[in-house]
Amino acid sequence: MAKITKDEIIHLADLANLTLSEAEIEQLGGDLNNIVAYIEQLSELDTSGVQPTYMTVDLENVTRADEIIDYGLGREELLKLAPEQAGGQIKVPKVL
């Protein structure tokens, strides 16, 4: 498998919404290549016909009634968590 290039690191950071510094891009490039080289060893396993495991206990399609549950949390309490708020809304920087 190809080595992860600097351009790919920048692309991944963009997908992950991380504004990385030049130093971080360098550092993560090295780390990721080492880690990927290690996890590559899975390619030697024959997994043909094997089903993937996403869940380790025998629970399947757990659903609940489509009803509003009162978690005892008010609008004010949740708004208080926002870094900025104004007029009963979460304030964000100008989009346009």
């Binding site: 498998m1 992860i4 690191i9 991944l12 950071a13 997908l15 992950a16 919404n17 991380l18 504004t19 990385l20 510094s21 971080e24 550092q27 993560l28 780390d31 990721l32 080492n34 880690i35 990927v36 290690y38 996890i39 590559e40 060893q41 899975l42 390619s43 396993l45 997994t47 094997v50 089903q51 993937p52 495991t53 996403y54 869940m55 380790t56 206990v57 629970l59 757990v62 609940r64 978690y71 005892g72 949390l73 309490e77 949740l78 208080k80 968590l81 926002a82 870094p83 900025e84 979460i90 964000v92 920087p93 100008k94 989009v95």
Partner: protein, 464 residues
């Protein structure tokens, strides 16, 4: 009587009070400040709760099975009384609007949280060095790591500040620090304890557990925390801890050969063998078992877990809560995340995005989930002939502060024996097995069949 039973007895009989117990625990925490165990104390709320419990006691009301027992909580459980930071700048001043189910259940039995313990930010790490608030020091040797990610909780119990503390375990985060500090650490079967109100790391392997000095205390705490929760769809409908293990007689224990090879510290091996001897002396049969898939477990883990981590950490966008930086909207996303996360968080987000990205998904993520099935099949086969499997907890005793920080892969390799049971959702306990010549604690890991936690408790108690 166990440590917790003694406190409950003192409080209920009037020999002491919840207030005295809490004040004493807060004093002990202050005396050990140099270890950097706590991120924030919840003193004011703890004293208030102690006052309430004492009032109820005077009136003769029932105050629960943990009346007046002080405890500490890993700072990724949402609690009242102090911010819940997950040891990251992102949540440095996050005041949780609700409490984790596990904490609520313990409080309902009269237990009192005195503070929030240090961890690797977002529970990413095995040393508590990846904390925004600096590392926690090992309880036995201050030049060494506490282990992690639940390092603060392990050290709080080891130093006797509190009789029990909560941790979370995704790939060893309870078991390894328990081993490094010489205490009992419990990772139950996946789905035993509600994850509601705990900062999510990897949803398919995250489990909630605890640290104590004695197994009986862990059993009590876990029996209270366990149980179905409508707010967590992955909790088991019938808690494995509510079914006592009654089968008498000797157990068949399998020692995992693949964890006793080269690369494992000789003193760790010696302590493991010493524990095995205790088992055989007690009449249990011990035989070797080989699980060749162990060789691949760490590679599986470092695909599956970062994939889930990057999804779970996508919610931290600097908008609704948490740290915010930047002037334009896209700037806010990128800069808040870059500034709010620790380097290890970013590393895992990047790996996760890589293994999930189109073109690589089949080769990494899907292949890992299939390999996970092969590992589980091997466990199932081994459990046909064995009741319990045994291995060391970690290949080495607590390492020096800074020893593994420069090389992330080297740090990951410390998890090599704790990640396999996590990937299979199995219960796995870390119990003290001995000490190295230098006095460093070494734990042994007991791994049970799925939902057979009660059996592990029976064996661990017998061997204590």
């Amino acid at each position: 009587m166990s440590e917790i039973a003694k406190i409950v007895d003192r409080v209920k009989s009037g020999k002491s009070s919840a207030m005295e117990e809490v004040k004493a625990a807060l004093r002990r925490a202050e005396d050990h400040e140099g270890y950097n165990i706590f991120i924030n104390m919840t003193s004011e709320r703890a004293l208030g709760r102690a006052r309430e419990i004492d009032k109820k006691l005077i009136k003769g009301e029932d105050v629960g099975a943990l009346a007046g027992v002080p405890f500490a909580v890993k700072d990724n459980y949402l609690t009242f009384g102090a911010p819940t930071t997950a040891a990251a700048k992102m949540l440095e001043s996050f005041d949780a609007p609700l409490q984790a189910t596990a904490v609520e259940k313990l409080e309902a039995e009269g237990a009192i949280c005195i503070g929030k313990t240090n961890l690797d930010a977002y529970a990413h790490g095995g040393s508590t060095e990846n904390s925004y608030f600096g590392p926690t020091l090992n309880a036995v040797d201050k030049t060494r790591v506490a282990g992690g990610s639940s390092g603060g909780s392990a050290v709080a119990v080891a130093l006797g500040i509190v009789p029990f503390a909560l941790g979370s375990d995704t790939g060893g985060s309870i078991r390894q620090p328990a081993s490094f500090n010489g205490v009992v650490g419990i990772k139950p079967t996946y789905g035993t304890v509600s994850r509601y109100g705990v900062v999510a790391m990897a949803s398919s392997t995250d489990v909630m557990g605890c640290f104590t000095k004695e197994v009986a205390d862990s059993e009590l705490v876990m029996s209270i925390m366990a149980g179905h929760d409508e707010r967590d769809g992955t909790t088991l409908p019938n808690s494995p801890l509510q079914v006592p293990y009654l089968q008498k007689g000797k157990m068949k224990v399998g020692i995992i050969k693949d964890c006793m090879g080269d690369g494992v510290d000789t003193e760790v091996k010696a302590a493991t063998e010493q524990y095995v001897k205790k088992l055989t002396d007690a009449g249990h049969s011990v035989s070797e078992v080989s699980l060749p898939m162990y060789k691949y477990a760490l590679a599986i883990y470092y695909i599956v877990v970062p994939a889930e981590v990057c999804s779970n950490l996508a919610r931290y966008d600097g908008i609704r809560y948490g740290y915010r930086d930047g002037k334009t909207l896209s700037d806010v996303f990128g800069k808040s995340r870059d500034g709010g996360f620790m380097p290890e968080n970013k590393r895992r987000i990047m790996i996760g995005n890589y293994v999930l990205s189109s073109g690589f998904f089949d080769a990494y993520y899907l292949q890992a989930q299939k390999a996970r099935t092969l590992l589980i099949n091997e466990y199932d086969k081994a459990f046909k002939d064995h009741d319990v499997l045994l291995s060391p907890v970690a290949p080495n005793p607590a390492f020096k502060l800074g020893e593994n920080t420069a090389d992330p892969l080297k740090m990951y390799l410390e998890d090599i024996m704790t990640v396999p049971p996590s990937l299979a959702g199995l219960p796995a306990f870390s119990v003290p097995a001995g000490k190295t010549k230098a006095g460093l604690p070494v734990g042994v890991q007991l791994i049970g069949k799925r939902k057979c936690d009660a059996q592990l408790f029976a064996l661990a108690k017998e061997m204590e």
